[in-house]
Amino acid sequence: MQELQSAFWEAGRLLLTFDSDLTEIVFLSLRVTLSAVFIGCLIGFPFGAFLAVARFPGRTVIVVIVNAFMGLPPVVAGLFLYLLLSRSGPLGPLALLYTPTAMIIAQAVLVTPIVTAMTRQVVEDLYQEYDEQFRSMGLFGARAVPSLLWDARYSLITGALAGFGRAAAEVGAVLIVGGNINHVTRVMTTTIALETSRGNLSLALGLGLVLISLSLLINAAVMSLRGSAKRLAYV
């Protein structure tokens, strides 16, 4: 009990004094995660909207695959990326393995299906509602996508935040393709796993507190967005 108490105190001290190791890890984590979410949104918003409005053979199969990939095990994603990025793999010459870029790619692979699937569902519902009105205005297919994305913006931000939550909490894939190298690819989740196994609970706990705070902030942001949307009668 005393050990836990002192670990909490030490974690608090590290946070309050902006410990250099801790801040470096937090900033790298945020850089990797935000980049991955940005890429996931860049691909997921238009692709999800396309799946919502387009009708073509094989669409249902793609939708099923995207939905299934929402639950893609991170270690499996990491393993496939490792095979692609390793020196003998097809992308080996790019020398991306064990770099933050590889970690961004890994997290983007996990986030993109979430953003795509949520976008597809939200935009499809909206498209059903707007369908007759849009067609009567001569607005159909790909031309309708920007209007649909804009009107679904509050729901889409929620999807992006869900993707952020998934990426921020992810450990398996970034550990495999990042290697958890000190001062290079060490992020919050991998550090917590490593420092706990080493018995350095204070740093692990400090990072854990940062992660929990981030999670709380994300949820508060989602609630606030929903509240704003309702207040403004945009829903």
């Binding site: 007759e132 009105q133 849009f134 067609r135 009567s136 205005m137 001569g138 009668a233 945009y234 829903v235």
Partner: protein
């Protein structure tokens, strides 16, 4: 009656198409879903000018007829022909079966529809109209002036920044109507635009319809409101069970209905 249909100074984008759109002819048009015909052998010619009101009990096929005219649905049999070919955006999927075909519209669709329950975007009043102007490819430099004129037309100046979905029912319907008029359509279709509105809101919508008609827009409106039909209609299409039972001038329809169904409807009997 003026023939300048442009509202808010919005000239039609396809003004080069100088051939009038109307009349539109329906020849033995049927429309069915899952093998069941909901419209049977509808033959009708709607010309320019007169305000046409479509009446009839629920399930008579009034709204289907409007959607056929808008191009939102297509006849399963029969032929629908406009004097000037045009296709709605929907027809990009393959033209109008048995009916009008032609090139994709280059600008504003010549037919606009106001649905019974207006579908407004999750945006402000002004943003809803700006969206319509953008879709109609009105030049960016002209949009602000045209927006102001549409807001004035719908008497919505005080509501411009209000989320459209928070407007009252009457205001929402006014917004939907001026949005439809943004295209300066040659024909305006209205599907029970005043259903569940109070007299004041109904008057505002009827005023908009009248002003649109005065500028040369053909009006085709579905209504269940007998008083409104008498106020608005120049001619009445009476439908029953998916067929046209009567198509006559309004005056003779209300004083001397020819069909059994119309007589029963006007006398307040329940048509089941």
């Amino acid at each position: 009656m003026s023939t300048d249909r442009s509202f808010a100074g919005i000239a039609r984008a396809d003004e080069s198409a100088s051939t009038p759109l109307l009349p539109v002819s329906l020849e033995d048009v049927c429309f069915g879903v899952n093998g069941t015909d909901l419209l049977h052998d509808v033959s009708l010619s709607i010309g320019p000018g007169n305000r046409t009101v479509i009446m009839g009990p629920n399930g008579a096929g009034k709204s289907l007829l409007l959607r056929l005219l808008q191009g939102l649905i297509h006849p399963t049999r029969g032929r629908l022909a406009w004097r000037r070919n045009w296709t709605s955006g929907h027809s990009a999927q393959g033209g109008t079966p048995g009916g009008a075909t032609g090139a994709m519209p280059s600008g504003a669709p010549p037919v606009s529809i106001v649905l019974q329950r207006p579908v407004l975007l999750r945006r402000s009043v002004a943003a809803n109209l700006t969206h319509a102007l953008r879709v109609l490819r009105v030049p960016r430099a002209d949009r602000a002036d045209r927006l102001e004129e549409l807001l004035t037309l719908g008497n919505l100046q005080d509501r411009r920044e209000q989320p459209a979905r928070s407007l009252s029912g009457g205001e929402q319907q006014r917004l939907a109507t001026v949005r439809a008029l943004a295209a300066s359509p040659e024909m305006l279709l209205l599907d029970e635009p005043t259903a569940s509105l109070d007299p004041q809101a109904t008057h505002a919508i009827e005023d908009l319809i009248q002003r649109s008609h005065d500028r040369g827009t053909k009006i085709v409106m579905v209504t269940h409101d007998m008083g409104q039909a008498k106020r608005v209609a120049d001619e009445v299409v009476f439908m029953s069970k998916g067929r046209i039972a009567e198509f006559t001038p309004a005056e003779s329809f209300f004083s001397r209905p020819q069909s059994e169904e119309a007589r029963a409807y006007l006398s307040g009997q329940l048509i089941i």
